[in-house]
């Protein structure tokens, strides 16, 4: 790399910038919150070991196509400029349109910082093992050879499989290269060739909606595309924030901005924060107490029903359980949705706006106005984000929001939608992955329980699938390109305690580019290449009505001893006697050629591999114009039934009705399953906040511009551009004597984090937001100076999906 990229930040002198001439500067600058690694015992990692190129003296100068692979839901093309074997510049897509159809895939701020991610002082350089005799997580390491590292993994895999069976092996949730194809599935392919591993269902993004929506629609179905809002009279982004969570200039941020700019459709944003979607697009912002969405829906439904704004014909034709006349046979009277809303059901409470108002924090007249708009705008597009389902009873929140398009008959038509998240068309890319032969699964969130008490976990208490109960706890974890082992799972202090005990999980293998919080808990730590150092073939993700494929060409040689996932797995496969089965005789590059060849069979006109090297991105436009969810069902529900037992939309789910009677729960408030999408008050919810003197503030963790989850979290340019801060309302700050940029502690019984406060009117009183994904960095006193939200979150799962309720937390905040 060139000298300039290792240049140290200027440290001499106080900036003489004259921003005090600008209006409104309240205070001076604030130092960046350090999230760098303070683990000096790790050889080769840290600022003193800044990365240099492995290729010296060559004179090649080239530009190759690649892509940013992190889990934001967008997928951007990168142009990697290489000189003398080093990345010297990272550009983005230079093709495509400036329109909704076939847009240029302009990378966001993260993709543009990619060079600093590749050449990062935190890069892992050689295989390492935890120093024998030291505690896991203590940060004492020994450098070992690849041969020794893979030999250890091979013998431990054999031992664990022989002693406990394949279900004791767990492939940890991780999404650092989720956009990758070969690189994202090499390890699971290898584990599958070895007989498989304990599976998981759900994801840390969508556990609740992925599990709950099938009870209503038979499967999880995304809503209409954002581009389809050109047909809408009203757009409601309900906890949905595509402008911030999917920032690609060729993805849903662009789709939302462009359709709004061109068609100026009235737009309402419902969110506890004045999100960037609200800032950019909203004609009205309605702040709501986190976790109370189902109460707001119920009140809107009450208005729609009371004022005769429901689409009765749609409900009669397409749905089960709206009114008493359409309940399944054998269900007690009073169990219908209409009865629940009007207060003629078992609870006897009418869900009128004056009932919901104190729960949600929204005035009655605002609820009435919202209900009238949703009831009269034809058609109306309601898109929900995933934050409101990542709650203590998020399953009911997300099902509830999906009731509004049902009540108003907006499902399956242009300009409407099903109230799930905005939809997309997909590119039919051939994949490298193979199926896991083991069918036993746990929720992706329950792995800590499966380490601690795996053999006690059952189907009806813990959501075990494929078996009545687990036979064995997790004994060996493979954690690849992911930070969920510590950082992105809940209750990091409790999780690290669990991991420290190596009598429970006996081997942890971590494969990554950087020394993440999770990597610190490895027994064997393997340096993976970044995608600049390998080849792949990439598909679009949530891109709307254009789908595409991107070729990823290798820009630079692997740094240090880093190896691609494919190469390390091929070497491990050889040690375990399954090399031929794993590789099928191909190199990674040959596999890419094979995947391009396979893809071309189903995509007419797609580039040849040769053309891809030059042109980079191949696009396909939606032949139907814009995507409409469940259009075939709407057009002919008899011929095209849903995959529910009834073939209809099950507002009342008989399956949930039965599960409510059979699944077991403790007495934690909110841990219930309801056949209808009811509002449920929960532990550490908005209502409890009002009476909790010790921890009166709700804290959520919004997705942050400077990171994708924890990916890119150690990139200095991004830490400078988007320093970690906790958002708090001006009034909450005044009550505590806190001013903007004060360093504060946010804490509850689970932990304490330290970070600067962003005192702002952009978040509602009583609610804090700690942008999720900052790297967990406890100091000697246990204070997490990285400011990781998951120091404050809990292992307690949501009731139905056993998913992560990471936006349900009560805390206090004080000056540090």
């Amino acid at each position: 790399m060139t000298a300039a990229t290792t240049e140290k930040p200027p440290t001499s002198g106080i900036p003489r910038r004259s921003f005090l001439k600008w209006s409104g500067i309240a205070g001076g600058g604030v130092a960046l919150v350090g999230t760098g690694a303070a683990f000096g015992l790790l050889p080769g990692v840290g600022p003193a070991n800044a990365v240099t190129s492995t290729v010296a003296g060559s004179t090649d100068e080239k530009t190759v196509w690649n892509a940013c692979l992190v889990n934001c839901g967008s997928r951007c093309a990168l142009r990697l400029h290489v000189k003398d074997g080093s990345l010297v510049r990272v550009d983005t897509d230079t093709t495509g349109s400036q329109d909704l159809d076939g847009p240029q895939l302009r990378a966001c701020v993260r993709g543009r910082s990619f060079r600093r991610r590749v050449y990062n002082p935190d890069r892992l350089k050689t295989p390492m093992r935890r120093k024998p005799g030291t505690k896991r997580g203590a940060g004492e390491w020994e450098q070992i050879s690849w041969d020794e590292a893979l030999g250890t993994i091979a013998s431990e895999l054999k031992r664990v499989i022989a002693d406990y069976g394949n279900e004791a092996v767990y492939y940890q949730y991780g999404s650092g290269v989720t956009g990758g194809n070969i690189t994202n599935t090499a390890w699971t392919r290898l584990l599958s060739t070895l007989g498989g591993y304990l599976g998981m269902y759900g994801s840390y993004s969508t556990s609740q909606i992925s599990f709950a929506m099938p009870f209503m629609y038979g499967e999880r179905i995304e809503s209409n595309s954002i581009g389809d809002t050109v047909h809408s009279k009203l757009v409601v982004y309900w906890g949905d924030n595509p402008v911030e969570t999917r920032m690609s200039g060729g993805g849903n941020m662009w789709n939302a901005q462009k359709s709004n700019k061109d068609f100026k459709t009235r737009t309402i944003v419902i969110d506890p924060r004045y999100s960037e979607t609200a800032l950019d697009l909203a004609d009205q912002w309605i702040p709501i107490r986190p976790g109370t969405d189902a109460a707001l829906v119920a009140a809107i439904a009450h208005v729609l029903i009371s004022e005769d704004m429901v689409d009765q014909q749609f409900l009669d034709t397409y749905c089960v359980g709206y009114d008493e006349e359409h309940l399944p046979a054998g269900i007690p009277a009073g169990s219908s949705y209409k009865s629940y809303i009007l207060g003629t059901g078992p609870d006897g409470v009418a869900k009128a706006p004056d009932w919901a108002s104190p729960i949600t924090g929204i005035p009655v007249d605002v609820i009435l106005g919202l209900a009238h708009e949703i009831g009269t705008a034809k058609p109306c597009a309601i898109m929900q984000g995933w934050g409101l389902q990542r709650q203590a009873n998020g399953e009911n929140n997300c099902r509830a929001v999906m009731m509004l398009p049902i009540l108003t008959g907006n499902v399956g038509i242009h300009g409407g939608g099903n109230g799930s998240r905005e939809g997309t068309i997909r590119f039919p890319l051939a994949r490298f992955s193979i199926d896991n032969p083991i069918k036993t699964k746990i929720s992706c969130f329950m792995w800590t329980d499966a380490i601690a008490r795996g053999a006690e976990m059952t189907d009806i208490a813990d959501g075990v699938q494929g078996k009545k109960k687990l036979d064995v706890p997790i004994k060996l974890i493979i954690n690849v390109a992911g930070n969920t082992l510590v950082n992105q799972h809940s209750d990091a202090n409790r999780t690290t305690k669990l991991l420290e005990d190596d009598s429970l999980c006996e081997l942890i293998v971590v494969v990554d580019n950087h020394l993440t919080a999770s990597a610190r808990y490895a027994d064997i730590l393997l340096p993976g290449t970044t995608n600049a150092e390998e080849v792949d073939f990439i598909a679009s993700e949530y891109s709307g009505d254009t789908a595409y494929a991107i070729i990823a060409d290798q820009a630079i040689a692997p740094l240090f001893e880093a190896r691609s996932h494919y190469d390390m797995c091929a070497a491990l496969a050889a040690k375990m006697g399954v090399e031929e089965k794993f590789t099928e005789g191909r190199t990674q590059e040959e596999w890419r050629s094979e995947l391009i060849r396979k893809t071309s069979a189903s995509v007419p006109g797609i580039y040849t591999e040769e053309e891809f090297h030059d042109k980079g991105v191949f696009r396909v436009s939606n032949p139907d114009g814009t995507f409409v969810a469940s259009k075939a069902f709407r057009d002919d529900p008899v011929k095209n039934p849903l995959k529910t037992p009834s073939g209809k939309i099950e507002i009342f789910s008989e399956r949930l009705w039965k599960m409510a009677a059979t699944w077991t729960f403790g007495d934690t408030k909110g841990d219930v399953i309801t056949a209808l999408p009811e509002y449920v008050a929960t532990w550490e919810g908005a209502e409890e906040a009002k009476t909790n003197d010790k921890y009166p503030l709700q804290v959520i963790g919004h997705h942050f511009k400077g990171r994708t989850h924890s990916s890119y979290g150690s990139v200095d340019w991004l830490q400078e551009a988007h320093p970690q801060v906790v958002w708090m309302n001006t009034k909450d700050a005044e009550d505590r004597g806190i001013v903007n940029d004060d360093v504060v502690h946010v804490f509850n019984d689970r932990g304490r984090i330290e970070l600067p406060a962003r005192v702002t009117p952009r978040i509602m009183p009583g609610v804090l937001s700690v942008p999720q994904g900052a790297w967990y960095s406890p100091d000697a006193k246990g204070v997490d100076t990285g400011g990781c939200i998951n120091t404050l979150t809990t292992w307690h799962p949501s009731p139905l999906s056993k998913g992560n309720p990471q936006h349900t937390n009560l805390v206090q905040i004080e000056k540090a």
């Binding site: 500067i25 604030v30 966001c108 901005q257």
Partner: protein, 205 residues
């Protein structure tokens, strides 16, 4: 006489993502501490609380700002070594052989556009990516913006198309340097000097 160049900024589209700023850093190989393009968040307003319910009356918007290659470049006027000069196209540049790094330009510029490179001891600043423009490309920041909120071109053309507004909080009074900058204002943009809000991210500037 050559056409004078300026920047265009559509504030209605800016998300504060700073792709512009980081693309600039990548293109010019800048370390932490030097950002030729910066993004200010301006916010204000009040909340009404009534019992358990609240109603916001708040606003916020972003302003992406680099050197404005002003019609009256105060940096050029105050430079004691004549290192700072303005070309025929209006682009203000620094002669590195003359600059002594006194930072007077940085102090005088109401936008703080010139910035010190502590490693070289010289000032640095935006030249609107002269090399890119010479090759027929857009400046890095303009090409980077995922929202297509940035533009550049002859300022007369930009003003004919987008108006003449440059006086938006928290930017200084354009009368000071007459910036070649045109802004399409956010719906909640506050006029310069109104003082209705505050810069929410001073540490990032």
């Amino acid at each position: 006489m050559a056409e004078k160049l300026g920047f265009y900024f559509d504030q209605t589209l800016c998300t504060g993502c700073k792709a512009c700023s980081v693309a600039c850093k990548d293109k010019h190989d800048h370390a932490v501490g030097i950002s030729w393009r910066r993004v200010a968040e301006y916010a204000g307003g009040t909340w009404q609380q009534d019992g358990d319910t609240v109603v916001p009356n708040v606003f916020s918007y972003y302003t992406s700002i680099a050197c404005n290659h002003c019609e009256d470049p105060i940096c050029v006027r105050v430079c004691p070594t004549t290192a700072m000069s303005q070309g025929e196209d209006g682009i203000v540049t620094i002669d590195q052989t003359k600059c002594v790094g006194c930072r007077y330009c940085e102090w005088a510029c109401p936008y703080s556009a010139p910035q010190l490179n502590a490693a070289t001891g010289h000032m640095t600043k935006c030249d609107m990516c002269a090399d890119y423009r010479a090759e027929g490309q857009d400046p890095a920041c303009v090409a980077a913006c995922p929202s297509r909120a940035l533009g550049w071109g002859p300022i007369d053309e930009l003003r004919a198309k987008h108006g003449t507004l440059a006086a938006v909080e928290p930017l200084p009074d354009p009368a000071i340097t007459r910036p070649r900058l045109v802004i399409t204002p956010h719906r909640d943009a506050q006029p310069t000097g109104s003082g209705t809000g505050f810069v929410a991210n001073p540490g990032e500037l």
